[in-house]
Symmetry: C2
Subunit: 907 residues, 2 copies
């Protein structure tokens, strides 16, 4: 058997891999190889493949090390040659970084170890070589700290405890009377290394390994293990990344941004990740290692002068002060900046997308550590796609594919009500880390955020800084506020990825986790108090500020136009009111796919008449009550048809069990008794007679219309009466009348007869006719199974995938909470089938119904009006099975339009 | 266009039709033609086709008469020639009978008119010809009476009113001081004719038609109309006869059984319709018309001497008295009897089945009016089929096909408990008109019978005599008791058809409809009092006598053996107790297809432990309670496996929502609080937390097992622990463990894992292994749709068509009553889909699941365990789609076996 290649080397403009090997080398590894090939300076090293990670879990640690040793030794030798130094050699040592790198980016989810290869001898040798003992022992203590945490499991015992290493640092600083890490002497750092090693031995019982090779295998296996840590599993679940993908391990020669004032480290973006603007931007720290930027422990400086100026303006700092205290890299290191700018440009041109890059400057030499397509906000996503298109960098189809449908939601997210904002009390300002507006109650810990959110409370998670452990809490929160960290801090990056409002680096805020309070400029807020965040401006407000819908940019409109150009699927909306209809039409909905009529019955006078109708025992009594309802219903439809003039409006006849309409309380029953002139006892009995064991499977839908045809007749008169009136006004109403819950052809036939007879009579009375269609919901499995019979009469199908999911799975949406969480946890279900259409089961019925229906009526129009109509993967399925349209809530119309266009393009 | 032939003539040993034209000529018409062809004397005449009936409803009365006139005129001319007399001719008149005749027998459902062609002139002429004015005017008054009722709509105004014609007869009799019809003089009869005509004119406004042709068309169209009368529609619905079949009309020359003492009329059977005995039998009346026998107005005499002797013995009449007063036809009219006997034999030989024949003797000449395959009791059905087989008249397959599966139910019907019978008070004796035992509360009117039965009460319908209007009431009653009428009376024939216990002609009973009481030998019973009937002996008892299962005959066993020889489908039973298992095994069940475990939890100690398990909040608490339940469960399975030794026993894991087990009353909740040592409030909260909006779609089935795997583990231990114990004893337990409500492969996998792990542990502990299978219910539409995935793990499928019907239709069995009756009435549904498997919808899923499942596991065993498993048409469907077995309640096992054999034969 041919031996599998597990290690791919790169360096000095050569590489064994390239960008096409992403699955095998992970995103980072593939890009490191690719960057080498296009002439971007990258520290040499090698990538251990993702398959090896899977094998690690199969064959175990010892076996995988045995299998890797030969290849890794060779790769180290090659790296040593490139860097002209030697791993473990005291006189001229090579230090290594060990990083994870999966197929899909999972920022901060897995572990990293830097400065690997140090021990007392090597450190001494490195001092001799560099003449910089402070740098060496600072690197050494960082290495011991990181290795102790990641590989040897040296963690705080309680989540509220400080990191054990940080505690030692604090002790040393206190004893020495210094405040900043950099004020520690070489002896202090040497002391720290010894104390760290002792603490590790005391807490974990493990000796710190001195053999660099042993250190390396420990680190490599720790990265493999970190693939299965809790936060990585949670992240994969949220992002739909399969566990089988595994992570690669990237081992590279260390380069140091902390070798003095000619060294630096930074993160940069080829365009603005917040708003999409085409300006190079980023942050860097002089004399620092990369983790200092990403972790947000020090607030970094801007790379470009423009960025620095904007930053100062927001912070209220004068240009003089800025130039003096906060120079940009462009000003402070102009040569390096020029090289960096040229290379970032080269990378964007190469990848034809906005790049998110990490770099280090070691003693005046620039190294790129990583490049990847940058995460961005929804607004930036749309702008970048449209800009790249305008710049000729990508074509229309690529521009559409570059946009994630769900992220459009951010653009549509509410902003603060402008009026309310004028009186809002701004308490401080931070960085506009992730746009949007949010308000909620202050919480400090991730698990509290989760718990409160489960209880239905809106929360703002407030942290000094966030870490990957906070992920679930961040997902549960409305917004995130941090006191430290920049635009590329963990909080900022993750929040943008989630499309969640975030203000970071609001340094004026003092956070006390113990008392669960914050203080800012003398104002105190405690856990549970309301605050509001504007992630677009960085403003933080006291109290609750009402929010409202966003205004949409020209880029958004351009994207939507492109979508229409490529989509085959139309997008309609679910709307029961003229207002919703108008909102949806403005978002590009081309009709109403589902107009429910039951909500209309709940307003004051209507509900009394409705109840009278339900509680009557005779058809005459019901007809009398329905006569009262008719004018109200007609007026509802007048408004909706007017708002959707010229577009089809699909009205569903009364659907819910009658039980939902009647009064269950004494007062309501007494009122009804008075209104109807009967005893309360009578009302009570009638109400009780409507109780059902399983109302979802009971007397509802067309079973109502078929037992009380007078309801169907009244609704038909209201719908078509409104249409007649508008047609007289010169408008173009396009009513469609839909029979709900059909399971048997004859059910539909009987309802259709009532509808057509009522229509014929109405048109004769009015002397005017309106074109209309009569169709049916397909939401009962039997309807899908016998669609070839039902389509002989029904003019269109609308898939009610909510009910179809209920019946196909046998799940009641109202009762699923007792087992769904366990099913998701045990992975019996991958997703909630009420959110994402179950293509294997429910989808099979949809496909079958479309095919059978069209076998007897080739022009049969088919649409979907369940919640799934606005969920991208479900929309794509709808395209695939040949539906004519999807229908969704107004605010999901753009998402559906984008998904529909992508489906057509991907075909 | 070729003119459609609408009229088929017959007579004098010639006929245009024959038995093969049953669809076109109806059963009676085809047999009349056939009898002519094989030399049985039949009054000549003609048949108007069934298609003409349909056309009557399409084109209307005038048009259909216009289309028929030419053919009917020609056919009348031919009949006149055969009979040598003339329709409407005063001097030598031909009188006609007009009768319905559909493809399937619908006894008494439609209308008949006799003696048609009479008017004042013809009557006078007939008197001149026959010299028998009493016969003529008696015929005339019968004709007017019948025609007035059937054609002119002369009906009693209220159901409790006496027939208006009978009222006039009573008046005349009272005025004349006579008691019997036959004591009326010629003048009385003439008087009746006039009074009848006047009453018709007064009540209906119509003149009685004097033109015989006009009379004929009126009668023909009335027969067509009677196809759509209420009772015919109800009968067709019950028997599954399509409305499109239509009825033929048979017009025949009248022959008269009432032309004096050498005339007679009768009904006879080639074998005993009650018990199947191969003895010619029947009843006749001298000097009477056929309706007198069928209507049961006079109690008729026996045809054979043997029959007469048996009758007398039952009635306690001495042989001397019998010979003197009640001679059989064999004794009274030996020549006619010999001819009749020879002809009935010829007919049975010809049709190779038991014949039900009507005949008339007119002045010494025998005419057959009708022959058809005789309706029979279930017992007779089996005996006749086995006898005909033994006699070489039919082959095995035909014998099987001759038996209606549902009728076997009668054989299995309970009989009286013998012990209880020894102390039972016999109050009178009638005729053993339809076998079986029944007891219930007395009711007198059909609609009361229906109403009481709907309320869940068991009723015995008591009538002086029954009429087709009583049909629905008879169907609702447990048994029928009549004071008048013989073994061939309406009550007897219909009850046998329904397989319902009936005692007829219990003349000692005086029935008072007004006071709703009966009196017999001085004992009074009122409506609502209990009586008991033995339809096999004719005995009537006071009060309620407990009933028990019947013993089965050797013929029954022979039939069952034949079934096994031809069936491909196995029959298992649904049984939860050793007793049920034994009963079913005795009926030939070859295993248990569904052993529900939930019923086992309801017994005293078990329910407390079960509740403790449910109400615990922790897995530990549940496990502790389950430990208590384990020995009980194991002992249940010991009994069942023992009873089904060597046969597979398919045990379904716990299925119903937990809510069903917990106490909802205060006392029960207090008891549980005490038992568990917690507060009542705690119990109440836990109970309330289990309430679901739609329990049918909620937390049940394997959703329980997957959220509380400890339940599955306990049940597995109980099942396999019992099997291990029996295997040690040397028995051969064959457990199958079934996961309920699977919808997703992973649900099954997770449960299977628990089962197999528990089994492995148990077998290791016990040091002994038992073979077992793990399979799944297919009762969720999604399971059927994804059966190819589920079958990768499941070793067998069992279709739970109850739930599958619920989910496929979206019907809750518990709530269907609010619309099912209306759906059946409006024919939206033809049958209740919970009784008869919906082949178009639910059946499609079954077929799909079988095909998909076997595509990945060709040996996949498939069965059905819903209610449908014992319904013949559903069993045949199961055969067709290739199931391995059906499973049904013990008492339906023989029915399923017969249906399975028929399915295989019909293939």
């Amino acid at each position: 058997m041919k031996k599998v290649k597990r290690v791919y080397t790169f360096g000095n403009g050569r590489a064994e891999g390239d960008a096409t090997l992403r699955d095998l080398l992970g995103g980072k590894g593939a890009n490191l190889a690719e960057m080498n090939k296009i002439g971007v300076p990258v520290p040499p090293g090698f990538t251990i493949t993702t398959d090896t990670c899977n094998d690690y879990y199969t064959v175990g640690q010892d076996e995988i090390i045995a299998q890797l040793t030969e290849e890794v030794d060779a790769a180290i030798a090659q790296t040593e040659e490139s860097m002209n130094c030697k791993f473990g050699d005291a006189s001229n040592p090579l230090l290594l970084s060990v990083r994870s790198g999966a197929r899909a980016s999972m920022p901060g989810m897995m572990d990293t170890i830097l400065n690997l290869g140090l021990n007392d001898e090597v450190a001494a040798g490195l001092v001799a070589k560099t003449g910089n003992p402070h740098f060496v022992y600072d690197s050494y203590r960082r290495f011991v700290q990181m290795y102790g945490d990641v590989v040897l499991g040296m963690k705080p015992e309680n989540k509220e405890d400080i990191d054990p290493f940080e505690a030692i640092i604090e002790e040393v600083k206190t004893a020495r009377g210094v405040h900043l890490d950099k004020d520690l002497t070489v002896e202090d750092l040497q002391n720290l290394v010894e104390r760290f090693k002792k603490a590790i031995k005391d807490q974990t019982g493990k000796d710190f390994p001195t053999d660099p090779k042993e250190q390396l295998w420990g680190a490599v296996c720790a990265v493999f293990r970190s693939w299965m840590n809790e936060r990585a599993i949670l992240y994969r679940k949220m992002e739909g990344i399969p566990a089988e993908w595994g992570t690669a391990v990237n081992v590279q020669a260390m380069v140091f941004g902390n070798m003095g004032e000619t060294s630096a480290t930074g993160v940069c973006f080829s365009r603005d990740a917040g708003n999409g603007e085409n300006v190079f931007n980023g942050e860097y720290l002089v004399n620092a290692q990369g983790e200092d930027v990403v972790a947000g422990i020090r607030t970094p400086q801007q790379i470009t002068k423009l960025g620095a100026q904007r930053w100062a303006e927001r912070a209220g700092i004068s240009e003089e002060e800025r130039v003096a205290k906060y120079p940009s890299m462009e000003e402070a290191m102009p040569e390096i900046y020029t090289e960096l700018n040229a290379l970032q440009n080269k990378l964007e041109q190469h990848y034809r997308d906005m790049q998110d890059m990490e770099f280090t400057v070691q003693e005046g030499k620039l190294w790129f550590l990583q490049t990847r397509n940058g995460k961005r906000t929804g607004t930036a996503m749309v702008k970048i796609a449209m800009d790249l298109l305008a710049e000729g960098m990508i074509d229309e189809k690529t521009a559409i594919k570059r946009c994630e449908p769900n992220k459009l939601d951010e653009l549509l997210h509410p902003v603060f009500n402008k009026q309310a904002l004028t009186t809002a009390k701004e308490i401080t300002r931070g960085l506009p880390a992730s746009p949007g507006a949010a308000c909620g109650q202050i919480v400090f810990h991730a698990d509290d955020a989760e718990k409160w959110a489960e209880e239905g409370r809106k929360v703002i998670m407030v942290r000094i800084e966030t870490s990957p452990e906070d992920l679930a809490g961040m997902a549960a929160a409305e917004g995130i506020l941090t006191a430290r960290g920049g635009m590329t801090s963990h909080a900022a990056v993750v929040a943008r990825g989630m499309g969640k409002c975030c203000v970071s680096g609001a340094g004026a805020i003092q956070i006390d986790y113990k008392t669960r309070t914050i203080e800012v400029d003398g104002l105190k807020f405690k856990e549970g108090d309301y605050i509001s965040l504007n992630g677009t401006t960085g403003c933080v407000y006291a109290g609750e500020i009402p929010t409202e819908a966003a205004e949409l940019s020209g880029d958004f409109s351009k994207l939507m136009e492109l979508c229409s150009k490529y989509s085959k699927l139309n997008v309609r909306t679910n709307a029961d009111t003229p207002h919703d209809a108008k909102v949806a039409k403005d978002f590009g909905a081309v009709g109403i796919g589902l107009c429910r009529t039951e909500h209309m019955f709940f307003e004051a006078e209507k509900i009394v008449a409705m109840r009278e109708m339900i509680l009557s025992e005779t058809a005459e009594g019901r007809e009398k009550a329905l006569e009262k309802i008719l004018p109200y219903q007609k007026s509802d439809f007048l408004g909706i048809f007017r708002a959707m003039d010229g577009c089809p409006v699909n009205v569903r006849l009364l659907d819910p069990p009658l039980h939902e309409f009647v009064p269950h309380d004494n007062a309501g029953q007494e009122e009804m008794a008075k209104a109807m002139g009967v005893t309360v006892e009578y009302i009570r009995q009638r109400v009780n007679s409507l109780v059902e064991a399983n109302p979802m499977l009971g007397h509802r839908g067309c079973r109502l219309g078929n037992t009380y045809p007078e309801i169907t007749a009244m609704q038909t008169r209201a719908i078509l009466g409104a249409a007649v009136e508008l047609k007289r006004e010169g408008l173009n109403p396009m009513p469609e009348i839909m029979v709900p819950l059909t399971g048997i052809l004859h059910e539909f036939e009987a309802q259709e007869k009532v509808i057509r007879n009522t229509a014929a009579k109405l048109f004769e009375e009015e002397g005017i006719e309106v074109d209309f269609k009569v169709g049916t919901m397909i939401e009962i499995p039997r309807a899908a199974l016998t669609a070839d019979r039902i389509a002989t009469r029904a003019e269109y199908f609308s898939f009610g995938t909510n009910d179809l999911t209920q019946m196909t799975f046998g799940y009641s949406r109202d009762d699923i909470a007792s087992f769904l969480p366990i099913y998701l946890e045990k992975k019996i279900l991958k997703v909630d089938p009420f959110q994402v259409l179950d293509q294997n089961g429910v989808g099979q019925l949809v496909q079958m119904a479309v095919d059978k229906g069209r076998s007897v009526r080739p022009e049969l129009k088919c649409g979907i009006c369940g919640e799934h109509g606005g969920e991208p993967s479900s929309v794509k399925f709808c395209h695939k099975v040949g539906l004519n349209y999807v229908s969704c809530s107004p605010f999901r119309v753009p998402i559906a339009r984008l998904a529909a266009a992508q489906a057509a393009i991907e075909e």
